[in-house]
């Protein structure tokens, strides 16, 4: 699938400032390209990480995708959001690298399960709300990323696009070339699987009772 053409089918508009920057780059001011992509660095890195599950590979893929975006920017016709177009290129780049470099790697949980049927949650412990401040802690971020990495790639991709990059169901469906129903089914499964994976830690109070200096709150 051609990254630069498929993403452009999505109906959306870049905002005015972004559009002005894109036109400047298209007219030869390539030195402002970084200004254009800088707000999306994190999202592109996350998209690549979802597929490659490795910090170095994800960085390489995201940066290569950005270079390809620069090379192909003249073809961008404002028929899609610029961010969506960038993410599409990144997804394609990461998928290509995964095929090339990780062909022999076994895919983890859920990759070969059928989407049909109801996913049955395994843990029903009473969870309280986990404060967002807990994300300031490295071990919490590590735990969440490790849990995500155990999902099959088809769940990781959709979860990252929807819940991390906040694309709409329609955009994810268009980007991955699958139906809206499949996107919703896989998204539900990804969320429930992550919930099951993290449930023992969350419900047992891991987030709040791990070793902390006396008097210091966990978040």
């Amino acid at each position: 699938m051609d990254a630069t053409s498929s993403a452009e089918k999505l109906p959306a508009k870049a905002d005015a400032r972004e559009e002005a920057l894109i036109r400047r780059v298209q007219n030869g001011e390539r030195e402002v390209f970084y200004e254009l992509v800088q707000p999306y660095e994190r999202r592109l890195y996350a998209a690549a990480f979802a597929i490659l599950r490795n910090q170095h590979d994800a960085e390489d893929a995201a940066q290569e995708a950005i270079l390809k975006a620069l090379k192909n920017l003249k073809q961008f016709r404002f028929e899609a959001r610029f961010s969506t177009w960038l993410i599409q290129i990144t997804i394609n780049e990461a998928r290509m690298r995964r095929r090339k470099e990780h062909a022999d790697v076994m895919e983890p949980i859920g990759e070969y399960r059928e989407d049909e049927g109801t996913y049955t949650p395994r843990d029903f412990a009473d969870w309280r709300e986990i404060p967002s401040e807990s994300l300031e802690r490295t071990e919490v971020r590590k735990l969440l990323l490790e849990a995500l990495a155990t999902l099959g790639v088809k769940y990781r991709e959709i979860f990252i696009l929807r819940d991390v990059n906040h694309l709409s169901i329609e955009e994810v469906s268009e980007m991955l070339g699958i139906s809206r129903a499949s996107v919703k089914t896989r998204l539900l499964r990804a969320r429930l699987m992550l919930r099951d994976l993290l449930a023992p830690k969350m419900s047992s109070g891991w987030f709040s009772t791990s070793t902390l200096p006396k008097g210091e709150k966990p978040w």
Partner: protein, 193 residues
């Protein structure tokens, strides 16, 4: 009306995203009030969406931005030169391939080329004035250093006439000519300085 827990689990994503018809949502609300298992599933899923949606979770590696800017700076001149390079390469290739095509296709209508080292080319303007040296096999631009015309008679003719008589273009002077045309074209299009 929600009849069982499975129905709640199937719809928990849609519930969080507020993508349910009002009747089903009301039914789920009623079920959730009475079912601690389903409340656990709902709250746990909400936690997942909220935590993974937080910008602090995915942070680019240290130095990511610097390395990216470095790569972008390195890529910029390449983009210009690639475009121009392709233009020149395409022009040169056209000259060579066109020459072979013409030599092969017109061998019956016209005399064979006089040199086995070169071949005539299509892209040259037919009215271009060129010179040929007596006993020579190539046609040249007038100032070409490779005419080898000492002591011989030099004739002037158009490129079309030279091709018709079986002369082949000199790849040095006419190659430079094609390059110059390509460069002028590139400058007009802003592809080269």
């Amino acid at each position: 009306m929600v009849e069982n827990c499975e129905q709640v689990w199937r719809e928990v994503s849609n519930y969080i995203e507020n993508d349910l018809d009002p009747a089903l949502r009301a039914g789920m609300d009623e079920h959730l009030r009475q079912c601690p298992k389903c409340r656990s599933v709902l709250e746990g899923t909400r936690n997942i969406v909220r935590l993974y949606g937080d910008e602090r979770l995915f942070q680019v590696p240290l130095g990511f931005s610097w390395r990216l800017r470095h790569k972008l700076a390195g890529a910029q001149p390449t983009w210009q030169s690639v475009g121009f390079g392709w233009l020149v390469a395409a022009a040169a290739m056209t000259l060579i391939v066109g020459g072979f095509v013409l030599a092969n296709s017109s061998s019956r209508a016209h005399p064979a080329v006089l040199s086995h080292m070169a071949a005539p080319a299509k892209p040259l303007p037919e009215g271009l004035i060129v010179v040929v040296a007596e006993h020579g096999k190539l046609f040249h631009l007038a100032k070409c250093d490779y005419i080898h015309a000492e002591g011989t008679f030099v004739r002037t003719m158009t490129a079309q006439e030279a091709l018709r008589e079986g002369y082949a273009p000199c790849l040095r002077c006419l190659g430079e000519y094609v390059m110059k045309v390509a460069l002028d074209f590139a400058r007009r299009r802003g592809l080269a300085v």
